[in-house]
Amino acid sequence: MRLFEYALVSGVLYGLFYGFIGVGLNLLFGVMRLVNLAHGDLVVWGGYLAYSLTTSAHVNPLWAIPLSIPLALVGGLILYLITVPRLRRAEDTETSSLILFFGVSQVLVALATMKYGTNQVTLPELGNPVMIFGQPYAASLVASAALAVPALALFYYYLYRTRLGLATRAVMANEEEAVASGVRVRRVATSAFVIGIAFAAAAGPLATFMLGGINPTTGGGLTITAFTIIIIGSLGNPLGTAAGGILYGLASSLTQAYAAPWTGMVPYALLLAVVLLRPSGLFGRRVRVA
């Protein structure tokens, strides 16, 4: 029973973090049908930034979060300007972007390997374990989950309480109609892109805690997991993404507890089940079938 309880609590903690990873990706895919296969690698680079801060400046790794955001905004804008206008003119934007961002992902992995090597990199523990229902959980785990909550709330606020968010949702629902109603799609697209990338980078230190360390190839798995989550939780629905994250976290930690060798299969099995049985996701009505 204690194993079950432990699996449940850590499932929720991991799930919140995965929801955090998912929202940025959701934004890019929902608004522009861009498949950012470099998303996980951006998260990993956020983690490396935290690692560099702790090893060179000996500060709390969580400082990397506010520091990474402006960097990601600038980097994201540059990447946007180079790639997106041409991609949007491509014959098949979705598939072309998938291939292109895979290339970006390879570049990020290669650069990470050159700078940090292939060994696992870890961050120092934040403090004493936290007791939940009488069982200890690492402070970094709890802190990461706790930080994911305001991040998701902020995302929700942006999407549902700001004018730009309203325009963003309009573009997600129907780009042509949004244009016809005077929405400035380019502005929406640019901000969705850079915000999505900033979310990825900000999740980096948390990922390093949650996964017990990172290496240059960690990003690929994170991207797949994030995609699974946004597909489970339905596109363009931040609450769905959070719920999808928790669902995934629970499935993953229960498998870890009771059938450990199969843990790695969880995202793939979930993804297949959802796209085949309910391609619109569990929390949405939009169907995407050829």
């Binding site: 598939t95 290669a110 995609f227 060798p261 793939y268 993804l271 297949l272 796209v275 050829a290």
Partner: protein, 310 residues
């Protein structure tokens, strides 16, 4: 004509560069890139998990050798059959489109990996080891034959009514259906043919490698290489994927093995440049004018006489 050239060059391969393992692997990549060409080039579905069919071919042929003691040719046939069966099982994924399809096939291939890696009857823990059924030279000859036969298949797909139907579906499935094309059946046949090619490639790889763990046959890098080789050379052409595989796999052989991160960097940048500036691949630069990227036409037109349009 290109068939003869490719066949002759590959046949002369060993006298040009005496490394049969490299040359055989190259032909295996040509088969995979042609499989991607048929699925992605002609139907527009990006099979990110194409490696799953490669792995299915590897394990289908290997398990047949281990349990049934079949010969080399039968193993190749059974490898192809296993991949086709796998393709039939996952054919419901063809209902999806775009990124959903790409990621779902990826998920299916990795799910297959976990099954193979965790089961004892597939030697997931102990690893597979096979008797040597062909000499390296015989195997290379066999793989060159496979490439030539594959090119015949691709020529047929390009020039036949079947190929025209595939291109029509890729352009507009509803309109193609209205022209009398059975969309589901045509797509599924292309999918099965591509899977069979990957199955043959897998069987050849198994016969060449003879001892391996499940990680290598299901490594996603293989999917990615096949996709990029095909794109680099140019999809929807017969020769493009061959050119792509030869150029890039040679580059990999030259720098990728000693300095993988540099190869990865070049590779990544190449993908970005390709998608942004040369979506039709290398062969589009010498192909019909209509396929060439606009920037190329701008550059070239400055140096040639202005075009006269009726």
């Amino acid at each position: 004509m290109p068939l003869v050239v490719v066949g002759a060059v590959l046949a002369a391969g060993p006298s040009l560069y005496n490394n049969l393992a490299f040359l055989t692997t190259l032909t295996i990549y040509i088969l995979l890139a042609q499989g991607v060409n048929i699925v992605y080039g002609f139907t527009g579905y990006l099979p990110f998990g194409f490696v799953g069919f490669f792995g299915a071919g590897i394990y289908g042929s290997s398990l047949a050798i281990v349990y049934w003691h079949v010969g080399g040719y039968a193993a190749i046939g059974l490898g192809a059959l296993t991949s086709v069966v796998a393709a039939v099982i996952v054919s419901p994924l063809l209902r999806l489109s775009g990124a959903y399809f790409a990621l779902a096939t990826l998920a299916a291939s990795q799910a297959l990996y976990f099954i193979v890696a965790n089961e004892s009857w597939t030697f997931g823990e102990s690893g597979m080891s096979l008797p040597l059924l062909f000499s390296p030279t015989a195997l290379y000859v066999l793989s060159v034959v496979a490439v030539v036969l594959t090119l015949v298949v691709v020529v047929y797909v390009r020039d036949s009514h079947f190929g025209l139907s595939l291109r029509a579906i890729r352009s507009d499935a509803v309109s193609a259906a209205m022209a009398g094309v059975n969309v589901v059946r045509t797509r599924t046949i292309a999918w099965l043919v591509a899977a069979a090619l990957a199955g043959v490639a897998g069987a050849l790889w198994a016969l060449m490698t003879s001892a391996f763990y499940a990680e290598t046959p299901f490594d996603l890098t293989i999917s990615v290489y096949a996709i990029v080789f095909a794109l680099f050379g140019g999809v929807r052409t017969v020769i493009g994927p061959v050119v792509g595989a030869v150029v890039l796999y040679s580059l990999y052989q030259y720098i990728g093995i000693s300095n993988p991160q540099y190869f990865e960097l070049i590779y990544g940048l190449l993908i970005v440049v390709l998608v942004l500036f040369l979506p039709g691949g290398l062969t589009s630069l010498v192909g019909g004018r209509g396929d060439r990227p606009a920037w190329w036409n701008r550059v070239v037109r400055r140096r040639s006489a202005p075009e006269v349009t009726p």
